[in-house]
Amino acid sequence: QKEVEQDPGPLSVPEGAIVSLNCTYSNSAFQYFMWYRQYSRKGPELLMYTYSSGNKEDGRFTAQVDKSSKYISLFIRDSQPSDSATYLCAKRGMDSSYKLIFGSGTRLLVRP
């Protein structure tokens, strides 16, 4: 079983829709979680990070962590065509390697 599982999609939604992207993780030795957005032919860019359970909001984006069920989510409100990209969840443990473990990524298409 992979440490971070993510539905690869693709996920296609109309402009203005609320998007829900999800990951599950299997190893409890975590420190915090991140969401990255990757446009085609670009490197991943950090969208959000969170340390604890509950919600963290930043503009149209909300990151949610449920440690009891080992579930992390990213919600995008009022989705725009410019949100079309691949979204990667990642987690990092508190060991000395600072290694990130990524999910496989979910490809999102927001239709005008």
Binding site: Y36, R41, G43, L46, Y49, Y51, S97, Y98, K99
Partner: protein, 118 residues
Amino acid sequence: SAVISQKPSRDICQRGTSLTIQCQVDSQVTMMFWYRQQPGQSLTLIATANQGSEATYESGFVIDKFPISRPNLTFSTLTVSNMSPEDSSIYLCSVAWELGIGGWDGYTFGSGTRLTVV
């Protein structure tokens, strides 16, 4: 956060040859990493580039195939040696930086090197 310049952005190489990828950061960073992203796949860590010492490789990656140099805190290279078509992939440099909360909290990626081996 740091700004990363990675080059070349893409290359097409003959099998059996080697390619060296450069990663330049606009500020001194302690932690630098090299990742591979195969077509349609997620990112896999190849190694941590250590300044002044040998890189730390992940399982499945060896120094003879992916030698890494890190002469200072702003620069690193990754060489893909004796290439085969299976090495066709995107190679990304990444650095870790502090978000102010404590520890290495943010990770910035370069735009990647798209390698095709024919």
